[in-house]
């Protein structure tokens, strides 16, 4: 049986208009990364449901997809980000809890690495608080850029905003983060520990 090779996302989406089942290929290609993005923002449990919702929304909108964009990643991140916006409460609560608890550190591990991680917790707390206080549009841009490594153009397309707006939002968000981190004893200690590694 001959199997049609669909080389890029645009081909998959176009093919799925006639054969809807082909859309599952898009899930297989991008689901892990979209899920991680959602889990980072709203936690793993909510993320799994939003992941399914992201692809179902995408499926419903596939007829309007512009095939000039061969990679659908930005499009999917945009849909996922919109869904995160509907779960702002979970995200803020997640940030709030994260301020108090970082990854577990082995209490019997006294290595320098452990010391760095413990100190990183206090930096983490400042960072998480600063992220929570960002305006939602600024946070969307910053996290797509920093966590998902999208380019300015990809972020712009994902969020449906001009590239210039991406730049200004990113600049504003980073300035606020840096301001929050600057001069904190935790940050100073952390930098010092990092430089001593």
């Amino acid at each position: 049986m001959t199997r049609l090779l669909l080389r890029d996302d645009a081909e998959v989406i176009t093919a799925s208009l006639a054969e809807p089942g082909r859309f599952a290929v898009l899930f297989d290609r991008h689901a892990p990364h979209i899920h991680r993005y959602l889990a980072r923002r709203v936690g793993p449990q909510v993320a799994e449901d939003l992941l399914a919702e992201t692809f179902l929304v995408a499926f419903g909108k596939r007829a309007a997809y512009d095939p000039a964009f061969r990679d659908a990643r930005g499009w999917l991140y945009g849909i996922a980000t919109h869904l995160v916006g509907q779960h702002r409460r979970e995200e803020i609560r997640r940030f709030r809890l994260s301020q108090a608890a970082g990854p577990d550190v082995d209490q019997n591990d006294y290595s320098e690495r452990s010391v760095v991680r413990l100190t990183a917790r206090s930096v983490r707390s400042v960072l998480v608080a600063a992220l929570a206080e960002l305006a939602e549009p600024d946070r969307d841009v910053l996290l797509l850029f920093a966590w998902e490594q999208l380019s300015y153009e990809e972020v712009a397309r994902a969020l449906g905003i001009p590239v210039g707006t991406v730049r200004s939002r990113l600049h504003r968000a980073r300035a606020k983060i840096r301001q929050a981190l600057a001069g904190t004893p935790a940050a100073a200690t952390y930098e010092e520990l990092q430089s001593n590694e």
Partner: protein, 330 residues
């Protein structure tokens, strides 16, 4: 290490799952594709879990995300009081009236809102949130194995909270230079530092006590569109499971929800712990959810959700109380 590096490091705590680990979501998508929807697909977020559950995962206390358990709605136990003639609006109005019969107790800023929520899969989350958000709170989780883990929820005083850093006897570990191995079992006993923050109260004195003022308040404070039934009903459930409301505030919340089109009553249901109740539910694209009330007292019991394949999730509110200190159980 710059700000972007720090943010990326924060993000690196979240693992990249493999496709087999996402098979549940894939199955839902494939099923949705099979229907070949013409319009924009909507999915009822089955994970309308309590804030406690989401926070539990955020705090890294679960080895993995709790899987929804599969269980169809069960019939109510014999002898349960059931007002089978009531509509969804009437159930909510009854809940509002019941709330108004409660004594108005205004919590003091130095007190704590205690909630106990069964989040399913045998996990019970107890949370003590500072009334004004300015004192350290606490969250504990007890699994089905009886093991309990706890997390301090930092209070925020005058825009800052205090964190004890790694160290011994109030002194930093590194002693101002290269880090040295610690010889104590109390590694977080270093200097106390202050960091900027925003208080997160568990009681809201400015919350309106009238249904007409509620949509504006919810839009502003919860970031939802009050006309979106799914968002509204989930948010109301989430608020009721984590925060404290005066009777008039709670009644206003119910009364406003009652005015929203699309709700349906479902009698003779059980919450996830098996308590009998009356459900005020809604559905989207084959999934459904409901806020559940005690059929006799109309006290709020929790939220239960069912996915397209009838997979059940949700949580049950076991207790809400105002207490004097974190860890105090009424």
């Amino acid at each position: 290490m710059n700000d972007l590096d720090l943010i990326r490091e924060l993000g690196s705590e979240t693992p990249l799952l493999s496709l087999p680990e996402l098979s549940g979501a894939r199955e839902r998508v494939v099923k949705g594709i099979g229907r070949d929807r013409r319009g924009p697909a909507r999915w009822l977020a089955v994970a309308a879990v309590s804030a406690g559950a989401a926070a539990a995962v955020a705090a890294g206390m679960f080895a993995g995300a709790p899987a929804p358990h599969h269980r169809a709605p069960q019939a109510v136990r014999p002898g349960t009081v059931v007002n089978a003639h009531l509509t969804a609006k009437e159930v909510l109005d009854q809940a509002a009236a019941a709330a108004l019969r409660q004594a108005t107790v205004v919590p003091r800023p130095d007190q704590f809102v205690f909630t106990e929520v069964n989040v399913g899969t045998g996990v019970v989350v107890r949370t003590w949130l500072s009334v004004d958000g300015e004192r350290n709170g606490l969250e504990t989780q007890t699994g089905s194995d009886g093991k309990t883990s706890s997390t301090v929820i930092l209070g925020c005083v005058n825009g800052f909270h205090k964190i004890r850093t790694p160290g011994v006897d109030g002194k930093p570990i590194n002693g101002g230079g290269k880090p040295v191995p610690m010889k104590s079992t109390t590694p977080m006993d270093g200097p106390v530092i202050t960091e900027p923050c925003t208080p997160a109260p568990a009681y809201f004195p400015d919350m309106p006590a009238s249904a007409s003022a509620m949509p504006g308040y919810l839009e502003q404070t919860q970031g939802i569109s009050p006309s979106n039934l799914n968002d509204l009903a989930k948010t109301v459930g989430s608020m009721l499971q984590s925060d404290y409301f005066l009777p008039a505030q709670r009644a206003a919340l119910y009364e406003f929800l009652a005015t929203t089109p699309g709700l349906a009553v479902e009698h003779n249901v059980q919450d996830i712990t098996g308590r009998p109740g009356v459900g005020v539910g809604w559905s989207l694209q084959g999934s459904r959810a409901m806020n559940i009330f005690d059929p006799a007292s109309y006290a709020y019991l929790g939220m239960t959700t069912w996915g397209e394949q009838d997979q059940q999730g949700g949580d049950a509110l076991l207790q809400v109380a105002v207490v004097s200190y974190p860890g105090q159980v009424p």
